[in-house]
Symmetry: C2
Subunit: 109 residues, 2 copies
DNA sequence: TTTATTCATTGCAATATTACGATTAAAGGG
DNA sequence: CCCTTTAATCGTAATATTGCAATGAATAAA
């Protein structure tokens, strides 16, 4: 069906999945890494930096914005993007809790 | 196209995206949480635990197995699943490096 | 041997994702 | 007022994902 049955899962599970889904494409990972590397806003060179067409980059930026991980700021004809630090921290805490589950004392096959 | 252009990204970026993609569905998150909660192998009650049909669960388990995060052990007619601790640690180190990028000193919009 | 149980696989329908050309909208420069 | 630049949006093709009914394979139980 291509449609996840989100209603049968907890809010937390859906939240983790939603964040993870955004990271689930290398272009979005690359965009975020670039934003981190620059220590500043990026005004448009993402299309040159990553090797994808402008509409494609724009679409990926939109998804990153929708989950709140980046902010965009209009500056003349161009738009400046950067990491939303507060939301990144929130996301990190949700994902860390999931990733750091206790691996000890597992009676395993 | 529905097909990611993985060749234009680094191995690390593709690796992060591949792990994240697996976490990008709440059913797989739920399966992993259940495996963690039990502290032991799970032999088949995943279908009852999660509310999805058996073939659907089987498919999600396959994807988790393919990235190495779980192991399956045949035991008579049933199969026991559990977290692959070594690979989980490897995944965690890759994901943590990505999530824990430096948020300070960002001149932002 | 027959039957039941458990799980994987196959096949398919519905929907989502990825990518990009074409177009549009908005702001600036002349 | 045009023209350029920049980025969002639209439309569409190709592919991927999700979910399940039906079926198959393997072992256990009778």
């Amino acid at each position: 069906m291509g449609l996840a049955k989100t209603e049968i899962f907890t809010d937390k599970q859906n939240e983790i999945a939603q964040y993870a889904k955004v990271f689930g494409h290398p272009a979005r990972v690359a965009i975020l890494q670039y934003l981190f590397k620059l220590n500043a806003c990026v005004c448009g060179d993402l299309v040159d930096e990553i090797g994808l067409a402008q509409p494609t980059i724009s679409q990926h930026l939109k998804e990153l914005k929708q989950v709140g991980l980046i902010k965009g700021n209009v500056e003349g004809t161009s738009v400046c993007y950067c990491i939303d630090a507060d939301n990144w921290k929130k996301m990190k805490s949700v994902m860390s809790e999931f990733l750091n589950q206790d691996l000890d004392k597992k009676e395993c096959c």
